[in-house]
């Protein structure tokens, strides 16, 4: 429980709106550098589409490689947002307040990035338009809804739309705030965007009730999205290591693991870059780390189950696959790194409060987790395809090409770029939630002890 801090609202406004009202010095150079990287990435993608997928490292039988791995990775990251803002909103966790918007943003932008990969990894991207937006007559046929690749776009666009609207609704009061702080064309923009927000009881009630309702609606979507992504793999009966019933919850909890870690990374950066030490405080990292310990352990349990029941069948090919995945070069090295970074190093560290409240350590451990979780996806997808078949015809292992790595890096630059762009115009920490927590918390004296308390409305 965070101990209470008296923060004057004027100060809160000035600090939390510094991204918009007085742009920090580092902003322009950073954005321009990122812009260059993004541009390079776009050029590379264009060349790949122009030349064909021959430029990638893909080869029979590994038809899906780095792109799909990264796609799953970003979809996983996107699960941070709703996890944090919905679940914590429903459980009325007080410490969520400064975190929610950043998390939702991460959802939106990582989804926008994830979407790119299935498109560019296809052989004829220019035709994918028919596959995503298929309901036209010109193609003369409708898509096959039995295919998980149709469920994917449906689920992801649902999730993207939902979380974007969620973000916007929660942004309204702060837009009103910005409208009051700005002049000129910015003022005009915020006036339009804030839809004439005034802050009367009705509007506030809608904020709270609607927030809870939307959370309750977004939560099932959030679960379904990564489940459906996991079924891309799980329905392939002929691929050992993919055809497992546990994939849906296993992917979801893994996604939460990586997503929440990504939020930690992001919060540390926000605290450092915008000097928000008064708002993003060690106790928030502490709470997130506690959450992460639980999530990570649950995830480990699922990993264990997945492995157990892979061997449970005691079929030769399955065992051969696992043997390759864990004990053969280069997979064994990846596997060790994966296990160390995803669980063995960070979680024991988080057990100590000194680590949990140390922002630098939290930053690095959260990065470790995401390295591990990316490798996890890679180790699920690629060895499953590079499996030993009974045939001598397939012998090639998969080695990602420079093009793939460039696009992989591009995706990170792209997300950061979008984030910074957003931060120029909209606050990354919800101001009204910040102020609300000021109103809704106070200290009670029980005997001599001063205990932080929360005001719960009679309902």
């Amino acid at each position: 429980m965070q101990q209470r801090r008296e923060l004057d609202q004027v100060y809160t406004n000035r600090k939390l709106l510094n991204g918009q009202l007085d742009t920090p010095k580092w902003w322009l150079p950073t954005v321009s550098i990122l812009g260059v990287v993004v541009l390079i990435g776009v050029v590379v993608i264009a060349t790949m589409i122009n030349k064909g997928l021959g430029v990638t490292g893909l080869a029979r039988p590994v038809y899906w490689g780095l792109f799909i791995t990264t796609f799953v990775f970003w979809v996983g990251i996107s699960h941070a947002g709703i996890m944090i803002s919905a679940i914590l909103r429903l459980t009325q966790a007080e410490w969520r307040r400064p975190v929610t918007r950043a998390a939702e943003l991460l959802t939106v932008f990582s989804l926008l990035t994830a979407l790119v990969f299935p498109l560019i990894h296809a052989g004829r991207p220019w035709r994918i338009a028919y596959w995503i937006m298929p309901y036209d007559i010109s193609r003369g046929i409708y898509p096959n809804i039995r295919s998980p690749l149709i469920m994917d776009p449906v689920a992801i666009s649902t999730y993207l739309t939902g979380s974007t609207l969620f973000l916007y609704i929660a942004l309204l009061p702060d837009l009103g705030n910005l409208r009051d702080r700005t002049t000129g064309w910015k003022n005009a923009m915020y006036t339009v965007l804030s839809l004439g927000w005034r802050g009367n009881p009705r509007q506030w009630k809608m904020q709270t009730v609607g927030g809870i309702l939307l959370s309750a609606l977004m939560l099932p979507i959030f679960v379904s999205v990564h489940s459906i992504v996991s079924w891309d793999f799980a329905v392939a009966a002929a691929v050992e290591g993919w055809h497992s019933t546990i994939f849906a919850p296993y992917f979801v909890i893994g996604a939460v693991h990586s997503g929440v870690s990504a939020v930690v990374t992001m919060m540390a950066l926000m605290r450092w870059l915008w000097k928000w030490d008064d708002f993003i405080r060690p106790e928030h990292f502490d709470a997130l780390a506690r959450l992460l310990i639980v999530v990570a352990t649950g995830w480990l349990a699922f990993t264990f189950l997945e492995l157990t029941f892979a061997l449970y069948g005691q079929d030769a090919p399955e065992i051969a696959l696992r043997e390759m995945q864990m004990f053969q070069w280069p997979w064994n090295a990846l596997f060790i790194i994966f296990f160390l970074t995803a669980y063995a190093i960070p979680v024991p560290m988080w057990l100590f409060k000194r680590v949990r409240t140390n922002i630098a350590l939290m930053f690095w451990t959260s990065i470790l987790v995401n390295i591990g979780m990316w490798l996890e996806r890679f180790l699920i997808i690629v060895p499953g395809l590079a499996r030993r078949t009974p045939f001598v015809y397939t012998w090639e292992a998969y080695r990602p090409s420079a093009v793939e790595w460039t696009i992989f890096i591009w995706s990170f630059a792209w997300v950061t770029f979008l984030m910074l762009l957003f931060s120029k115009f909209f606050p990354l920490v919800p101001l009204f939630e910040q102020k609300e927590s000021q109103v809704f918390t106070e200290d009670v004296m029980i005997g001599r002890a001063k205990i932080p308390a929360i005001i719960r409305e009679a309902d």
């Binding site: 429980m1 429903l90 459980t91 007080e94 099932p220 679960v223 489940s227 079924w231 799980a234 329905v235 009966a237 055809h243 497992s244 019933t245 546990i246 994939f247 849906a248 919850p249 349990a301 699922f302 189950l305 997945e306 157990t308 029941f309 892979a310 061997l311 449970y312 069948g313 005691q314 106070e442 009670v444 029980i446 002890a449 205990i451 932080p452 308390a453 929360i454 005001i455 719960r456 409305e457 009679a458 309902d459």
Partner: protein, 467 residues
């Protein structure tokens, strides 16, 4: 229902009454004595039923002890009892996990269920004797015990169930110390003597309180881990591994989650009756029902999610495993049980619990909980009975070739199931005679931490959150 719900809502909005500490102690201690005639009648009835059930169990063992295919219903019952009695105490750990205030008064009721774990163990004994070893006719069947000794499942399941019982009781006892002390101070007769012996000189020093919290946290986490492990063993060794080619990685988790669901449902029912017939409205606030309702709702959705996650994978896959599993467990001998379970375990509770009005009330909550318990029993029958009905000479094959016929319960099975379930109720009811059904000190703590306040012109509750 609507009008009643509205009434409850009004009641809900009213801030929790602040009762003086001494009144709390006196009234709650008083609940252990002076049982009503109805209560006595019920206890007798349930007691007799349980005895009949145990006798039936022995008879069935003598009669059919050699034929494993006839024991599916007992296996289902064991799994069911494990779910209820094992899942319920999890509610007692919520404060440790989430520091939730609403749960404090009701942890005792949840913890009382762990005593009923005795029923599970009693029902398990013959089953362990009958469960085929890993190697039959020189062939080893698929289990999670790849190369382990032949009788590992028998040993470990029994051991972990006993461990679960012990940890559950330890969890109960570590949280009950202060109440035994208050029984020592305010009760009479054997209860006072019992309190004297069990309070272990509790006077409530700072150190004692700190150790108490530490113990609760410790045993709580142990309990959780052991519970997951037991669910894993029972669901695989007594269910999955009895069917050649049934390979469902999610099944243990499915089993665990539906176990929690049943546990919460059991707690809701116990709460309802103690609130109604022990006049505890003052202490069991509707807030508790509301929160439990939301928990139950979430678990209900989780059940359907886990079920569908495995089902869709089987449906897409065409391999022998997939087809045989679907044919045996869903389309096959138990199809009616499947639909009944689907309706009672998911659809009906989902539709009942989705309404905030219902969650704010008690009546429909308890209806929903009963529905869930019945549904769970049917679902356990759906999974375990077909699994056990596979002939013993086939369970070590690679794939299930012939789908066995439907197995209907014989008179023994019915008596055993009735007995086992009433034994749980019986034990819980008896425990309420021994110790207050609500934990006295936690009720005090609740009243201390949650205060109704006037915030300017409005009403609100001030909930303190100590670390």
């Amino acid at each position: 229902m609507a009008s009643q719900a509205v009434a409850h809502e009004a009641e809900h909005h009213a801030p929790p009454p602040n009762v003086d500490a001494d009144v709390v102690t006196r009234e709650l201690i008083a609940t252990t004595t002076g049982a009503s005639g109805r209560f006595k009648a019920w206890t007798w009835g349930l007691g007799i039923l349980s005895v009949v059930g145990i006798v039936a169990l022995i008879l069935k063992f003598i009669d059919q002890g050699d034929d494993s295919t006839k024991w599916g219903y007992v296996a289902a019952l064991v799994s069911f009892l494990l779910s209820v009695t094992g899942g319920a105490p999890m509610v007692a750990m919520a404060p440790v996990m989430a520091k939730a205030n609403w749960v404090r008064p009701i942890t005792r009721i949840a913890a009382l269920f762990s005593f009923a774990g005795v029923a599970t163990i009693i029902m398990l004994i013959p089953l362990v004797a009958i469960l085929p070893p890993l190697v039959t006719e020189g062939a080893r069947r698929r289990t999670v015990w790849y190369m382990a000794p032949d009788y590992s499942p028998h040993f470990w399941t029994t051991l972990s169930l006993v461990l679960l019982l012990i940890t559950g009781i330890a969890l109960f006892y570590s949280a009950a110390l202060p109440d035994f002390a208050s029984m020592r101070d305010h009760s009479t007769g054997w209860r006072q003597r019992l309190g004297k012996r069990l309070a272990r000189g509790w006077v409530g020093t700072d150190v004692q309180w700190r150790t108490l919290r530490m113990r609760i946290g410790m045993f709580g986490s142990f309990y959780f881990l052991i519970l997951v492990f037991v669910n894993f063993l029972v669901s695989t060794d007594f269910g999955q591994s009895m069917v050649p080619g049934w390979r469902d990685a999610i099944f243990p988790m499915y089993h665990t989650v539906s176990g929690f669901q049943a546990g919460v449902a059991g707690v809701v029912i116990a709460l309802y009756f103690s609130r109604k017939y022990m006049k505890l409205e003052k202490y069991i606030h509707l807030d508790a029902f509301w929160s439990l309702g939301r928990l139950l709702f979430a678990l209900t959705l989780l059940w359907i999610y886990f079920f569908y996650s495995s089902f869709i994978v089987f449906w897409y896959g065409r391999s022998e495993n997939d087809i045989a599993t679907l044919d045996l467990l869903i389309k096959g001998p138990m199809i009616y049980a499947f639909f009944a379970g689907m309706i009672l375990l998911w659809f009906v509770p989902w539709w009942i619990l989705i309404w905030n009005k219902v969650r704010r009330g008690t009546a429909m909550m308890v209806v929903g909980s009963f529905v869930i318990l019945i549904g769970l029993l049917i679902d356990r029958i759906r999974t375990f009975v077909p699994a056990w009905s596979v002939p013993g000479d086939q369970i070590h094959q690679k794939w299930l070739k012939v789908i066995p016929e439907t197995v209907w319960p014989d008179i023994f099975d019915i008596l055993i199931m009735a007995g086992g379930i009433s034994l749980v109720a019986f034990i819980v009811m008896m425990m309420t005679r021994v110790i207050p059904v609500l934990s006295v000190w936690q009720v005090q703590e609740f009243n201390l931490l949650a205060k109704p306040i006037r915030y300017m012109k409005g009403h609100a509750t001030l909930v303190a959150k100590p670390d």
